[in-house]
Amino acid sequence: MLTGALVLVLGANAAEHSNRSVVKGSKAYELDSCVEPTSVMRKLHPTFIKHQRDITVHHGIRGDKHSLSGCVDCHATKDAQGRYTPVNAPGQFCESCHEYAGVEIPCFTCHATTPTGRKGE
């Protein structure tokens, strides 16, 4: 019974998270590294984005390497019809880790999840 409860709480033994979540078909897939070394990005990407967001909104500095639209541009994939898949769709770059870690992504309640073709952010 205890084991059953444990299985219920902890979930089935699904395939474990792979170390590389960059999705094939995105620009990022072709690159060696993100705008910072991967180990830094894994820990500090929220800090980078948050910092960038403040200087963008308050001081109007745009197009820096830590911008969220940069993330979206580089990590969005296209489907067979050539349409973009949102970066927060299941299995996509942002969602796969956040889903695994049980962390919500607050960015995309407001920000575009695919490149929208307008430069700026």
Binding site: L31, D32, S33, C34, V35, E36, P37, S39, V40, K43, L44, T47, F48, H51, R53, D54, I55, T56, V57, H58, H59, G60, I61, R62, G63, D64, K65, S69, G70, V72, C74, T109, C110, H111, A112, P115, T116, R118, K119, G120, E121
Partner: protein
């Protein structure tokens, strides 16, 4: 607020410095660095500039909504859809509007004017004074806008604004433009197409769209700018001048 941010920036720099020191920086790690678009602003907005607008209501045509349509397209407002099950009439009261047309008639003389209304970008904006978190703020270049990352959705700014320029997002939003993020539960308003400012463009969407030449936008602090010249030449007024807010949007012909 800006002090806070500077402080945060310093902290951040030290964190990033540590992180960089602790890691061997791989060659090619900064691939995307500096490849920003031409005209992109890398310097902060400064108070040498004060953006402003002149609206000549005598040129404004009755029933024309070119500016409003262009504004909604530019800023992704046209991407919003009525939530399922909403009452269209009620929804119309709840959907955001950055810009609207108004037709006013003088009570005594009966003179009629048409004009577009939007955020007047006050020098002393009441919305900024009342905002509890500092989300409503005035940029160095005079643009009054909302930092939606720290807006808690209290709507006090909407209570305080004498021009009813602000809108609250009443519903979930599933489509946005990268240049105009938008989400449920925050307040927003006209920001003089701030993305165009930051990218070094000289116009606003409404100005570009106006086929009557009724809207002139530019730097009020530059005496050679078109908007400064026209403001010197033509008689103009502020809306609710009695409140002494020193608005950046000036009207002629009302």
């Amino acid at each position: 607020m800006s002090q806070d941010i500077d402080q945060e920036r310093r902290q951040f720099v030290s964190v990033a410095g540590l992180a960089a020191a602790a890691t061997v920086v791989a060659p090619g790690a900064f691939l995307l660095d500096g490849s920003a678009e031409a005209g992109s602003r890398r310097e902060p907005a400064v108070d040498k500039v004060r953006y402003g607008m002149f609206i000549d209501t005598t040129k404004c045509a009755d029933g024309c909504t070119e500016c409003v349509t262009a504004c909604e397209k530019e800023n992704g407002i046209d991407l919003l859809r009525m939530p399922e099950g909403a009452d269209p009439e009620e929804w119309d009261r709840q959907r955001p509007r950055w810009m609207r047309t108004v037709k006013v008639k003088d009570r005594l003389t009966g003179r009629v004017s048409n004009l577009p209304m939007m955020c007047q970008h006050c020098e002393h904006p009441p919305c900024v004074d009342v905002c509890p978190t500092g989300a409503s703020f005035r940029r160095a270049d005079g643009i009054v806008m909302v930092d939606r990352h720290i807006c808690i959705g209290c709507r006090y700014c909407m209570m305080a604004c004498p021009y009813k320029a602000r809108s609250f997002i009443h519903e979930n939003v599933d489509q946005q433009l990268s240049i105009a993020p938008r989400g449920k539960g925050c307040v927003e308003s006209c920001n003089f197409c701030v993305h165009r400012r930051d990218n070094g463009e000289n116009t606003t969407a409404c100005q570009d769209a106006c086929s009557h030449g009724a809207i002139v936008f530019g730097d009020l602090n530059d005496s050679n700018s078109e908007v400064s010249k026209v403001l010197r030449e033509k008689d103009n007024t502020q809306l609710r001048a009695d409140l002494k807010l020193n608005t950046s949007v000036r009207y002629c012909g009302i």
